[in-house]
Amino acid sequence: MDVRPSAAQHLLASTAREYLRRHHPIETIQRPVGAPAARGAAFDDKLWRGMAELGWAGLLVPGEHGGSDGSLLDVVLLVEELGYAGVPGPFVTSAVAATTLLLAGASDAQRARLLPGLASGTRIATLAVVEESGRFAPEALTLEVTAGQLRGRKRFVKDAELATDLLVALRGGVAIVPADAGGITRVALDTLGDERLFDLTFDGVPVGDGDRIDGRAALAAAMSAGALARTAELVGAAQRVLEMAVEHARTRVQGGRPIGGHQAIQHACADMVRDVDASRELLHLAAWKTSEGLEAGPDVATAKAYAGEACLAVARRAHQIFGAISYCDEHPLHVFHERMLAASADFGDAALHLETVARAIGLEP
């Protein structure tokens, strides 16, 4: 048994830490004083291309399609770094969830058409799953392709304006739709944080037989990979928030001494360490099991449910340690915090994942 990353995994993570420190410094997140409050982070095309050149976009993609045959565990370690650096954008949606969906269920022709572009970052795919309930409930999906046409509305679709391809979850499968197809109306949503979410209405969008993936297995795989990646984002962001709060506690002097010398602050920081460390260990266990092909459903659910609660508790406590300055728009803490809120709700909230855990521990349904 060894809980620590391999040398190669450590190299991947430390390379990412250094690259993002240079190309996505904290100032990118920190809004200048007086700047208008932003709604949705601008897409950093240069950073996206840089990440793709490092092979990150194709980490999960097989070599034959231009990727590097990495595992979901590798991806999780990388996404922790994206969370740590506070990088917004479609990585989790496109390079993790959508890519996993295609790997799990796409035909050879579909793979050959889409995977090379996803691996090189020239294509961006996003998932359209959630419907009117605003929740991830794959068993309650209603959209269908009727007579070769897709009609209905999908909600809270991430980065839909950047995407080249939409993977639309149906009652019994998935439709692959070009994002610029006629009959799609896109409405941007004004949500907390700087994620870019949209409602998409499909009004008779044509879907051919070759653009279908049947069955629920591929979507389930994507949901699981997305949940893991969002958990990794939570863990990475919580680690960053913890470090920021500890640094503030060490250096902020009140009453002639650093506030971190007071036990009230020290004990809050100790709880934050527990929350971050335990979340990370649960994440790594679930990602490892998934990568080994072992039954990991309850482990993924455990990690997502636990980290969703624990990492948000870290963010709330950090606000308390920073005090009033963290109430300002120009302070980066609320940006991390709002991303964590979005991550905890994405790919299944605690309620959904706890039901999976409830069944796994033997509670009769």
Binding site: M1, V3, H267, A270, V273, A278, E281, A305, A358, I361
Partner: protein
């Protein structure tokens, strides 16, 4: 990363399970109460049965009568024992004393005490706390005065678990008044029954005896029974605390998993207002959330185990794991009692006590866990100062 047990470890786990099937834990008599840490009651008979399999000495080097097994074998054994609810109360303490004797014990300790541990005959109480030295251990007053080839120990120890039924005390005493505050302490292995030692039981809040206080009235101890160099006792103790926290709580997660399974069975089988308790959405949600907390606890101990095995530096990892173990245990017992309603108040031995009254007992005993072995408050300060580098000093 690799979260799987090796083939050898899995085979050993199976061997332990076969042993437990052949020797059901319920059949062994208890000598001392189960304090709820997850290691069950104190049972000399069970310890000897483990010894008869060679499992007490299995990780010692061959020259000390062991088989040189890796540390993880101990974890496999304790995991299986805790999962089965076996009474192995004194095991971790015996192992830790054995490790200290192997590392820096005298010839006599290695010749007399070590083999007795291997046979399951020697168990130990810790003589650390005193009435005026709790969280501030260095305030202790017990003194060991050198007298030729002996030490003469005088003082008053308290909160020593199972001292009255153990065979040796590990007595921490001042051996020099001149030395700096943290210097001048030594550890002694003092046989129970030595003249001048008066061990008196303290009745605990469950009505049973767990702790004792020990009066040491000029107890003469051969110098060969000093454990480690004179004056270095506190350094050894501090180094030992990291592993103390680990070995004293490692079995909490499997023990809580065992009780959770019983609680789930209860929820499935119990009807409230005509429907199984298990279908109550609030019950489902809370039990599932508790399962994630127990999984988090297990994960923190798995990490600490890997660090300890590899000799990697540990600054806060076992402290944070211990805090998590004790507080998760308290929340678990509270949740469990709540689900049982008024039946939860029934003590063990009551006719229709759900889960044999295990939860009411767990609730009471868990109150001591966040105090014993370093309070949750002292340990949070340790995490913050030693782990995060926040300023140490008086608040």
């Amino acid at each position: 990363m690799d979260f799987a047990l090796t083939a050898e470890e899995q085979a050993f786990a199976e061997e332990v399970r076969a042993f437990l099937r052949a020797h059901p834990p319920a059949g062994f008599p208890h000598d001392g109460m189960d304090a709820g840490y997850g290691s069950g009651a104190n049972s000399r008979a069970f310890l000897k049965a483990l010894a008869a399999r060679g499992w007490l000495a299995m990780c010692w080097p061959a020259e000390h009568g062991g088989q040189g097994r890796p540390m993880f074998w101990k974890l496999v054994l304790m995991e299986e024992l805790a999962r089965a609810g076996a009474p192995f109360g004194p095991l971790a303490g015996a192992w830790q004393t054995a490790d200290a004797i192997i590392e820096y014990g005298s010839e006599r300790l290695r010749r007399e005490v070590l083999p007795a541990i291997g046979r399951g005959e020697a168990t130990f109480w810790q003589g650390y706390s005193e009435p005026e030295a709790g969280s501030d251990l260095l305030a202790l007053k017990t003194e060991a005065r050198r007298d030729g080839e002996h030490y003469v120990i005088r003082g008053h120890k308290i909160w020593s678990s199972h001292a009255g039924i153990a065979t040796y005390g590990l007595v921490f005493a001042r051996t020099s008044r001149e030395a700096r505050r943290s210097q001048g302490f030594s550890m002694f292995v003092v046989p129970n029954g030595t003249a001048g030692m008066d061990i008196r039981p303290i009745t605990s809040l469950t009505g049973e005896v767990y702790h004792y206080q020990v009066f040491l009235d000029d107890v003469r101890v051969p110098a060969e029974l000093r454990l480690g160099p004179e004056g270095q006792g506190f350094v050894a103790l501090l180094n030992g605390l990291d592993s103390d926290r680990f070995w004293g709580r490692f079995y909490k997660a499997p023990a809580l998993e065992r009780m959770l399974r019983r609680l789930v069975e209860h929820a499935n089988a119990t009807h409230v207002n005509g429907a199984p308790l298990a279908r109550d959405p609030v019950v489902r949600r809370r039990l599932a959330a508790m399962a994630t907390e127990i999984a988090a606890l297990r994960a923190l101990f798995t990490r600490a185990a890997c660090l300890m095995r590899d000799g990697a530096p540990i600054t806060y990892e076992t402290a944070v794991a211990k805090i998590c173990a004790d507080e998760t245990g308290q929340r678990f017992a509270k949740l469990g009692l709540e689900l049982l309603g008024l039946h939860g108040l029934l003590r063990p031995g009551s006719a229709d006590a759900p889960l044999d009254g295990e939860l009411s007992q767990a609730y009471l005993t868990s109150l001591g866990h966040t105090i014993a072995g370093g309070t949750a408050e002292v340990l949070r300060t340790t995490v913050a100062t030693r782990g995060l580098g926040l300023p140490a000093g008086k608040a």
